[in-house]
């Protein structure tokens, strides 16, 4: 796939006309890309002070490519914002910093650590997952900069609470999502209007699936943080999940540490993100595995969503992504 496209991209002359006439609707990635660029430009056109949430994860790096497609050669009309739990994989935060620098775009990082120091977040257990606590830091950052829109990489296929969420999703002045009174969203007419202290979350890749993301990463030849590809890592088996052994996640009594070939399907807080066994060392191999996967992305890898059937819905109501 990628070889064929890259070849025609480098071709000049008669081939160029042929490529130029290829309609975005001709294949599903073209359709999704066109929709996402349109959404990003609507944010730029409608919002006074937007930000793009960039973690270094695969969905947000697809967002960055889409932002390049939407706005280059101009600078992005928004800064990048990352809410750092302090429990991120170093491979991912390094990648985040390098990518922002390569693009020459402004990266704002706000950390849950500072929210804890300021007493804004109170932990019950110092080692607990900070995933949920990101909401406080995010809402504080939104208030600090006066953002009226936050562009995020959430997808509707991720979780059932997301299946009903709008592309432009309104948040009240407490940052809350009210699933029962969402704004109707028709055609491609999006309503980003907010009052003081309110904002919208915007999800340009709402209609993408995990497989679409990997296919797009392959098509665009995007670099991904190394932990998405299979590597040897010490893990323990806990329930049905593989839990990485890190400074923050130590084996429990009776657990046996093994070194397995694994990759991450999602990269979040270290304490609640589990890898899957895999030998996929290339994007193409990940696509093949994803197409044949028998467990959902979050089911396999997000320990925080397994705590309750409605865990995501509850977090979202509190202002989570």
């Amino acid at each position: 796939m990628t070889e064929a496209l890259a070849a025609s991209e480098e071709t000049r002359g008669p081939e160029r006309t042929l490529r130029a006439r290829r309609a975005p609707d001709a294949d599903h990635l073209g359709w999704l890309e066109s929709e996402a660029i349109h959404i990003l430009r609507e944010v730029a056109g409608q919002c006074r002070n937007p930000a793009l949430l960039f973690s270094g994860g695969k969905d947000s790096l697809v967002l960055l490519r889409l932002a390049e497609k939407a706005f280059r050669p101009s600078a992005f009309p928004f800064p990048l914002l990352h809410i750092d739990t302090g429990h991120n994989f170093p491979e991912v935060t390094d990648f985040r910093d390098r990518r922002a620098a390569e693009l020459g775009e402004r990266l704002i990082v706000r950390s849950v650590e500072s929210s804890i120091a300021a007493g804004r977040v109170v932990l019950r257990d110092p080692a607990e997952s900070r995933n949920r606590h990101q909401s406080v830091t995010l809402l504080d950052a939104i208030a600090e900069f006066g953002f009226d829109a936050c562009i995020g990489g959430a997808r509707r296929d991720e979780e059932k609470a997301r299946a009903k969420e709008r592309v432009f999703s309104f948040r009240d002045s407490f940052g809350q999502w009210d699933p029962k009174s969402q704004r109707p969203e028709l055609w491609n007419l999006y309503n980003a209007r907010v009052g003081p202290g309110e904002h919208v979350r915007v999800f340009p890749i709402s209609n993408w699936t995990e497989l679409d993301i990997w296919q797009y990463i392959a098509r665009e030849r995007l670099e991904v943080p190394s932990i998405y590809l299979a590597h040897l890592r010490p893990v323990v088996r806990r329930g049905t999940a593989l839990v990485p052994v890190t400074e923050l996640t130590q084996p429990r009594d009776g657990e046996h540490v093994e070194k397995l070939s694994v990759r991450f399907r999602t990269v979040g807080d270290i304490t609640c993100t589990a890898p899957v066994a895999s030998r996929a060392t290339t994007i193409e191999a990940i696509i093949a595995e994803t197409a044949a996967a028998s467990i959902t992305e979050r089911g396999a890898t997000r320990l925080d969503d397994q705590t309750a059937e409605a865990a995501m819905e509850l977090r979202k109501k509190e202002g989570y992504f």
Binding site: M1, A4, R16, R19, A20, R22, A23, P24, D25, A26, D27, H28, G30, W31, S34, I37, H38, R41, A44, G45, E68, K69, A70, F71, R72, S74, P77, R156, D157, K160, A161, A163, K164, P179, K180, R183, P184, E185, L186, W187, N188, L189, N191, R193, S206, N207, T209, L211, Q215, E284, I287, A288, S294, I295, T296, G299, E309, A310, E313, L314
Partner: protein
């Protein structure tokens, strides 16, 4: 197209379809069946619904796959359109699952606004009922090109060909009276999986395509491809060091080529397209839905809300609109107030001067104009705008023929409109 691990995959793009019908018609089971039989359901989701089914003392209940939010489970209702995804070797599918009962107009109109195809589910024991006609009427109003009537629960009547034929006759009679042209019928059992993804052995008398085959082969060739060129300007930028400003937007209908003579509305100045840019390259033309940046020969003042069109195919600006308005908000229309109307990327103040008549979706009859439109009402209205918009009729172009109404007091989207 892609070749992964030696498997050739032909990519025919995306089909968006909606499913309408009530829970009793087996809609959730149908969607569950589509997802399950196309392998879009993964082991952990299946395990979760198996546990719940077991707890309730049932066999595997596929309808649980579309189970939604906490509030819905508590009240046993579905409150909103849910979007679901699956793909086959041929296409990616986006399902807009519109709840049947409560607020059916609001939900149907929302789901229908982006759909290429609508599946209307009919319970074979009950036949074509009022709700079927309402859903078909709304799908037709919103201009969905393809309608599929899926006659469900064939297993409960012994897969009777006569019962199916009767529903086909009934519906065709209704469709003819309503001007609905493209309808297809398929007998199914969502519970048993007959004629959805697999043909099954129970319907040997039916020789047509399975439901999935209909979905995989439905023509999405868009009427917008051959419609006049419309390019609403979304955003304007002048990159550092660049000589000209770039007008960012998406080709919402027709196509544009280098050198084309265009007019920028509302000012109506004519100029030429001198560059069509994307991130990757400069292009000689841009097809439908291309997200591009245009440059123009003359340095004229162009901003968001303007529209670039071919000079010889420009829509006429209008400040008076004749439209069908579907009211979506709990607070009824107040004819004394001013609203904001968003048409493509353009926002203008609007006053709804007159409700000409109410349209009864159930009887497909006009009714005398009420004092106000309430939630789920559809009325024919006359609107006056503070500035002109450049509209086409909805039946000719559903992008430049549609608009939303926003209440400035709440910022809510309160109505959806179709230009007549």
């Amino acid at each position: 197209m892609s070749a992964i691990e030696g498997v050739e995959v032909v990519d025919h793009g995306v089909l968006r379809f909606l499913t309408a019908g009530s829970v009793d018609d087996g809609k959730s089971t149908l969607i569950g069946r589509l997802l399950y039989d196309t392998k879009a359901i993964l082991a952990d989701q299946l395990a979760a619904i198996a546990r719940t089914s077991l707890r309730r003392g049932q066999a595997l209940d596929l309808s649980l796959l579309t189970d939604g939010l906490v509030a819905e489970r508590e009240q046993g209702i579905t409150i909103d359109v849910a979007y679901r995804y699956f793909a086959t070797g041929l296409r990616k599918f986006i399902i807009a699952d519109a709840p049947g009962h409560a607020q059916y107009t609001r939900n149907m109109v929302t789901a229908a606004s982006t759909a290429h195809l609508a599946i209307l589910l009919v319970d074979v024991r009950h036949g074509v009922v009022m709700q079927t006609r309402r859903h078909a009427t709304l799908a037709h109003l919103l201009g969905i090109p393809h309608l599929v009537v899926a006659v469900n629960k064939m297993d409960l009547i012994g897969y009777s060909a006569d019962a199916f034929a009767k529903i086909v006759d009934d519906f065709l009679g209704f469709a003819e009276r309503s001007g609905i042209a493209d309808v297809r019928f398929v007998p199914i059992s969502a519970l048993e999986g007959d004629m959805i993804v697999d043909r099954g052995d129970n319907l040997p008398w039916y020789e047509g395509p399975t439901l999935l085959q209909i979905l995989e082969t439905a023509e999405v060739a868009n009427m917008l491809e051959s419609a006049p060129f419309r390019f609403p300007v979304q955003y304007v930028a002048r990159p550092k060091g660049a000589r000209r400003r770039g007008y960012m937007g998406r080709v919402e209908s027709g196509s544009v080529a280098l050198g084309d003579v265009v007019t920028v509305l509302p000012r109506g100045l004519a100029t030429r397209v001198t560059a069509i840019r994307t991130f990757e390259r400069e292009q000689t033309s841009a097809a439908l839905h291309s997200a591009v940046t245009l440059e123009l020969e003359d340095e004229i003042d162009v901003s968001r809300g303007d529209m670039i069109v071919h000079r010889d195919q420009a829509p006429s600006p209008s400040r008076l609109l004749d439209a069908s308005l579907c009211w979506l908000d709990e607070t009824p229309l107040d004819p004394g107030r001013k609203y904001l109307l968003r048409h493509t990327t353009r926002e203008v103040r609007a006053r709804i001067d007159r409700i000409d008549h109410l349209w009864n979706v159930t009887t497909q009859q006009r009714e005398p104009a009420p004092a106000a439109l309430h939630m789920n009402d559809i009325g024919r209205v006359s609107i006056t705008l503070a500035q002109p918009v450049f509209a086409d009729r909805y039946v000719e172009n559903n992008v430049t023929g549609s608009f939303i109404v926003i209440d400035e007091a709440t910022n809510n989207t309160v109505a959806a409109g179709l230009m007549q």
